[in-house]
């Protein structure tokens, strides 16, 4: 399998069709990120497309020393942030909650096929999605990048352009914040872990 760098080099040489390969490689990850950031599929789709369009337009100028994935996600997170700030300024008609920075509508969980038996874990999962949507922008961002998209501390630092120390403190705060919010809601199900 070719590396990102090789695909970028081929693109720069003139093989514009190779762009599709790059998109295939990252489309789900990017879409998932925008969806988790923005909370609805339409905006997620639009923003994810916008991300790739920006990539396409700037790829010829991409410095090969840099890492493609972190650059891609920097664009993604920047676009999401802009979009969320825009929402804050112009309250959308369907917005439910609009306080703090970037909080938005309640996320509808994906299991549309709603099972009859809702286990405690399912319940908690639904609540997590819910609370994730209510977290402040920075905390949501970092949880998505770390726990959902599995980027390392170092990569996150590059994507968000912050120091590794900041990554740690933000992550710690985000996880604590999430746990606090969840504690009141779902009782039980916390096993003694060791």
């Amino acid at each position: 399998m070719e590396s990102d760098l090789e695909l970028v080099q081929r693109f720069k040489k003139g093989e514009k069709e190779i762009f599709e390969k790059l998109v295939r490689r990252y489309q789900h990850k990017v879409y998932n990120t925008t969806y988790r950031m923005l909370g609805n599929r339409e905006d997620a789709g639009d923003l994810a497309q916008e991300t790739f369009i920006r990539v396409y337009q700037n790829l010829d100028r991409f410095k090969e020393k840099a890492n493609f994935a972190t650059w891609l996600f920097r664009i993604t997170t920047n676009l999401c942030r802009d979009q969320l700030r825009k929402r804050k300024r112009e309250p959308a008609t369907s917005s439910l909650t609009n306080s703090g920075d970037g909080e938005q509508e309640i996320l509808i969980p994906d299991n549309q096929y709603s099972p009859e038996k809702v286990s405690i874990e399912q319940e908690r999962k639904r609540e997590i999605q819910n609370q994730l949507g209510k977290l402040p922008l920075e905390q949501r961002e970092i949880l998505i990048l770390r726990d959902i998209q599995d980027f390392s501390y170092h990569q996150i630092a590059e994507i968000l352009k912050i120091s590794p120390g900041t990554v740690k403190s933000r992550l710690s705060r985000a996880r604590r914040s999430l746990r606090d919010k969840l504690q009141g809601i779902v009782k039980g199900g916390i096993t003694d872990g060791s």
């Binding site: 998109v23 504690q183 003694d192 872990g193």
Partner: protein
């Protein structure tokens, strides 16, 4: 460290994000504090659940929609400088001031083209009429050959020169050439190619032969030649023993940067692997051993990938490629073109006789003139 600080570090315990000393403290604390153990379990559960949210994928229409949008934006970008402008200008050029019926124009154009085509198709004719033409062509191609040889030597020299003008390091260049040669007898070519490639330590990667409707024969050879014999072989192929050169293009792709970059990365990875192995020897807990083995595997895979790429580059650098196409063109006028040939001959015959007529008239003209004068004088007298 107080309990509050410990609680702040606790969430990071999950992904090994702690410094060594912090890790020790937390580990110790966990054995003593039930509350923190429960918190850690909660963090772990949350992380797992979040991780499962990874499953949401982009809808099917995403990629096609994206491609469509990109094409659209590209069209807009390029359309801005051209389209409306030059297309209209071009159209204006075609509006003639005169009103020539298009039909007549087309018909006369066709007739002219046909005549020109049949006349120019006059290559190696056996008829004595056109012998001056064939001689001319041979001279021409001979000169072209010599010219190309000179150019070729220039190009090859340039390739060497640019290699030499760079700094000390060994250059990694992938050399490729593509040439087309016309030969008199294509059956001999096969033996010649084999002889050359074997002599210089190369081989024929693939070859093909075919023939077209006019019984012109073609064959194509894709040769792999050791890089240091590249120019020698190329010279031989384009030389006069084989045939006459019709087309040649040479290229050299410099992959030194990538090559040496790969080598360095590979070296580092091998060192890394070594260090991990040492760590593995020192590891005691199962958890640690598993972690290290996972890393080792990752590093090994990467090493193999880089080695593969390095070998690939080595192959392409050490063996240059030459793509040679031979053709044996049958002179026109054999077989199916009987009618055209007849027509051409007829036109030639006609133009010959008109020519002779004019020449004849020219020779008689002075005498006619004298006779005419005498006649007038005689008439006057009468």
């Amino acid at each position: 460290m107080d309990h509050k600080q410990i609680k702040e570090l606790l969430p990071l315990y999950l992904d090994n994000g702690l410094e060594k000393d912090e890790l020790e403290i937390i580990k110790k604390h966990l054995t003593e504090c039930k509350e923190c153990r429960q918190e850690l379990a909660a963090y772990r559960l949350n992380q797992q659940l979040l991780s499962s949210l990874n499953e949401t994928t982009a809808p099917e229409e995403f990629l096609p929609g994206l491609i469509a949008k990109i094409n659209q934006t590209e069209r807009v970008r390029h359309g801005k400088d051209s389209s409306a402008g030059w297309l209209n200008r071009l159209k204006r050029y075609f509006i003639f001031p005169l009103k020539i019926p298009a039909g007549a124009l087309a018909v006369s154009a066709v007739i002219i083209i046909v005549i020109l085509a049949s006349l120019s198709g006059n290559f190696a004719q056996q008829d004595s009429i056109s012998s001056p033409q064939t001689e001319y062509r041979q001279d021409f191609s001979l000169n072209r050959n010599m010219l190309m040889k000179a150019e070729h030597k220039d190009q090859a020299a340039q390739l060497q020169a640019s290699a030499g003008s760079r700094v000390q390091i060994d250059q990694k260049i992938i050399k490729e050439a593509s040439i087309r040669i016309e030969v008199k007898d294509i059956t001999k070519v096969y033996q010649q190619i084999i002889a050359i490639t074997e002599k210089y330590g190369g081989y024929i990667a693939n070859s093909s032969n075919w023939q077209d409707d006019n019984q012109n024969k073609y064959s194509n050879y894709y040769l792999k030649i050791p890089a240091d014999q590249f120019t020698t072989v190329l010279d031989l192929l384009t030389g006069e023993e084989i045939g006459s050169l019709l087309y040649r293009s040479i290229s050299g792709q410099d992959v030194s940067e990538e090559y040496y970059d790969l080598e360095i990365r590979l070296k580092n990875l091998l060192l890394q692997e070594e260090r991990y192995r040492e760590l593995l020897d020192q590891a005691t807990t199962v958890e640690d051993i598993l972690k290290i083995e996972k890393e080792l595997e990752r590093v090994r895979t990467e090493i193999e990938r880089l080695e593969g790429r390095l070998n690939y580059l080595d192959d392409r650098v050490n063996l240059s490629s030459i793509s040679v196409e031979f053709q044996e063109i049958k002179p026109l006028g054999s077989g199916n073109w009987g009618m055209v040939r007849a027509l051409r001959q007829a036109i030639q015959a006609l133009s010959q006789s008109i020519y002779r007529l004019i020449v004849g008239l020219g020779t008689i003209l002075p005498y006619l003139l004298i006779l005419a004068i005498l006649y007038l004088v005689w008439k006057r007298r009468k």
